[in-house]
């Protein structure tokens, strides 16, 4: 068996030099809300200042009323019957039922395409804008326009215009949640701008709102939506896509691709010739990349891109495991992307030092501080998944030795499945140690052994694997492994492949055991698990109630 790191590190690439980023220089992929977002924030700040002035200085309020009245009177002077009818039709866009239809249409699209993040931001923006606009209108208590006949329907105080605020927020929500960034979204922005301008004109013509009411409402709606989408569902991390796929994968193109290339050169001295997503279907916790690095000859390295979205995925994964398994898998989630990456890098080094055939870590590359990192490691070029190759005794022995060495070093891989066991040049390689654990429970170590035996038996047979196992493990250890392992404890890929075998490999192993131990109980309750289960049920109930409320209530 090849022990430790399998090949020479890619660090030996000639001409590779790293560069320290000087203080003040932006990172390769700066986190920003774009220029337009800043402008809208500035507008919103001006609106807030205006409100404070109007609320505290009567002369300002009178001046604003007089100015608004002058504009409305000029507009009222051009009223004609046909224009009034037209304006009433245009104004329908800001009525309760029209906004309800817009919301429900968005809901359907976002549910079909499973853009949960966009849906949550959509709902959040709707609630926040409705609350802010309603609360401020109730606090400012500005009457409707005076001295001009109001031709359209209205409700409540006028400043800011709640229908305009909600229409603006819903329109921008619709754009950012459904239209992919780029040319189409730019066209969409013009359409939304045109719609808001037309509805604003209608509301002014019909004297439902004063100009400042309309302006302030639109600014609040656009700003909240724009800032929320850029902060919580940015294009870089949550692109709008109509392709089915794992949401955890980040798009590798444009700005991010350039940032990766620059960061690799600056921080690891690697000149990336090609960066391509690799093995996406087998990875949900990161975006895996195969990177061709310039050299003589060029060689490949493997990159795992981690972002805040993966951190959240890790949290949900661990919460799910706690709810499913209880105390046996009770562990705290990571609280920062940097720590998540640091941990995997550390585990790789630990496994390597323990003599396991894992890829050599080549360094961590920072794209956006605290938000996005790339873990670079050796790439097993030409390696094939264990389920696709013939298994000989060497590979079986190497697989079992991996487990023995992890036991000796006090480690568990926790994700032993065909996708994570590769064969290269007739030797076994172990990848994806993100879930590995130091000082795991004995139960988890036993599960690793059983899962390894099951994987090895997929392309050989249970008897052969059992006989080879007996050379490294005693009967009691094997019996404990199969007492610990059943359905839920196996990775889903392994379960799927076992089912596809047509015969029950697990049962065959049980028959080979000289004796069986009673199954290890995996459902263990703790105060934490009980509390989390109750909280999860409560949150689900509240979410359901809110969803029903949003589905049935009038937004205005």
């Amino acid at each position: 068996m090849t022990t430790g790191y399998a090949v020479d590190p890619a660090r030996s690439i000639p001409g590779a030099h790293s560069r320290r980023r000087p203080s003040g220089e932006p990172p390769p992929l700066p986190h920003r809300i774009n220029t337009s977002g800043r402008w809208w924030l500035a507008f919103a700040s001006m609106v807030v200042v205006s409100w404070i002035l109007v609320a505290t200085i009567e002369r300002t309020a009178v001046a604003l009323d007089v100015a608004d009245h002058a504009v409305l009177e000029r507009i009222a002077s051009i009223r004609t019957p046909w224009l009034t009818r037209l304006m009433k039709v245009i104004g329908l866009a800001a009525t309760g039922w029209a906004l309800q239809i817009l919301w429900l249409a968005n809901l359907v699209v976002l549910l079909i395409w499973r853009r949960w993040r966009h849906l949550i931001v959509w709902i959040g923006v709707g609630i926040v804008v409705d609350s802010i606009a309603g609360s401020i209108a109730g606090s400012m208590q500005r009457p409707r326009p005076m001295g001009v006949e109001i031709l359209g329907d209205w409700s409540g105080f006028a400043m800011p215009s709640v229908p305009m605020a909600i229409l603006a927020a819903f329109s921008v929500n619709t754009l950012y949640a459904n239209v992919p960034a780029g040319h189409h979204r730019q066209v969409g922005k013009l359409i939304v701008g045109g719609l808001l301008a037309a509805v604003a004109a209608s509301r002014l013509y019909l004297a439902q709102d004063a100009p400042s009411d309309v302006l302030f409402g639109a600014v609040i709606g656009v700003t909240v939506s724009l800032v929320a989408f850029r902060l919580f569902a940015s294009n870089e991390v949550f692109p709008v896509s109509y392709h089915r796929g794992r949401a955890a994968h980040l798009p590798i193109d444009g700005i991010r691709l350039a940032a990766i290339e620059r960061a690799l050169k600056d921080q690891l001295g690697m000149i990336a010739v090609e960066v391509k997503p690799f093995g996406l279907e087998g990875s949900g916790g990161s975006t895996p990349l195969r990177i061709r690095v310039q050299g003589e000859p060029d060689c490949y390295v493997f990159g795992k891109l981690y972002a805040a979205t993966h951190l959240r995925a890790d949290r949900w994964y661990k919460l799910g495991r706690t709810l499913l398994y209880g105390r046996l898998e009770d562990e705290k989630p990571f609280n920062a992307v940097r720590r998540l990456v640091q941990y995997e890098d550390y585990v790789l080094r630990l496994l390597g030092e323990a003599g396991l055939p894992v890829p050599r870590p080549l360094g961590i590359v920072e794209l956006t501080p605290e938000r996005e990192y790339l873990l670079v490691m050796e790439f097993f070029d030409g390696a094939r998944e264990i389920g696709e190759v013939e298994i000989d005794d060497t590979i079986i022995d190497e697989g079992l030795l991996v487990i023995r060495r992890m036991w000796q070093a006090g480690l568990a891989h926790r994700d032993i499945k065909p996708a994570n066991l590769l064969v290269k040049d007739g030797h076994l390689r172990v990848i994806d140690s993100a879930f590995a654990q130091v000082r795991p429970s004995p139960w988890r170590q036993a599960v690793d052994l059983a899962n390894m035996m099951l994987v090895l038996a997929l392309r050989s047979d249970a008897r052969r694997v059992y006989d080879r196992t007996r050379l490294q493990f005693d009967e009691k250890e094997i019996a404990e492994a199969f007492a610990a392992t059943r359905g839920l404890t196996m990775p889903s890929q392994l379960r799927r492949m076992l089912r596809a075998q047509g015969h029950d490999v697990h049962a065959e192993f049980l028959k080979l055991l000289p004796y069986q131990l009673p199954p290890v109980r995996i459902q263990r309750w703790s105060v934490r698990r009980a509390g989390l289960t109750l909280v999860a049920l409560a949150v689900a109930s509240v979410a359901l109630a809110m969803a029903l409320q949003l589905l049935t209530s009038n937004p205005i």
């Binding site: 007089v66 009177e73 009223r79 004609t80 609350s131 802010i132 009457p143 001295g147 409700s155 409540g156």
Partner: protein, 200 residues
């Protein structure tokens, strides 16, 4: 600023914004209340809620308002919209929405009986139901361009005892008072109402 910072700021802003009106309602119970202007003053202050009530029914020559709240009474939110304004008063003895006041252009008084009106320039009609406990009834004030309904829903054992006290709390204000106020406020640059124009 970090995302957490922005979120916290947004949360604070939201809480502050929603907390403003909420805390006022709990504390003083008068925010959004159409309060009657002081009668003895030549140019009384008119609150904006009353202006909004006036705008909801532009033809109404008189507008309902709250003179002062007795101890134990609190104001519920004002719901003013095209063609209708409505507000309620809660009582610690008679329950929530003990009286609901509605201003409309006209109302159906066919089931009510006309009685002598206690408000000058109005016709009063009363209609009462006989629930097993408390008091239910409607009082209508009909006048030029408008109709105000007092809907009583008095819980508790006191029956109709609170009705005179409620009548004392509620009053009418002449629309002309509001017109004068708006004229003074804008220095004559705009009026409360406008004559309908062509196209309307």
């Amino acid at each position: 600023m970090t995302r957490r910072g922005v979120a916290a700021l947004a949360g604070l802003a939201l809480m502050a914004a929603s907390g403003c009106s909420g805390s006022f309602e709990v504390g003083s119970s008068t925010v959004g209340m159409p309060q009657c202007p002081a009668q003895q003053e030549r140019a009384p202050e008119v609150n904006t809620a009353l202006l909004l009530v006036a705008q909801s029914v532009p033809t109404a020559t008189r507008l309902p308002c709250v003179r002062a709240l007795d101890v134990g009474w609190t104001f519920q939110r004002l719901d003013a919209r095209t063609d209708r304004a409505r507000f309620s008063l809660d009582s610690d003895r008679n329950g929530v929405k003990a009286v609901t006041v509605t201003l409309e252009r006209e109302c159906d008084v066919s089931a009510a009986v006309e009685v002598t009106s206690d408000e000058a320039g109005t016709h009063r009609f009363d209609h009462s139901a006989s629930p097993t406990a408390g008091y239910r009834g409607d009082r209508f004030y009909v006048y030029d361009g408008g109709c105000v309904t007092y809907h009583f829903k008095l819980g508790g054992k006191t029956g109709a005892e609170s009705v005179p006290a409620i009548s004392e709390m509620l009053q009418f204000v002449d629309r002309e008072v509001l017109r004068r106020y708006v004229r003074d406020y804008s220095d004559g640059r705009f009026e409360l109402d406008a004559a309908p124009r062509a196209g309307g």
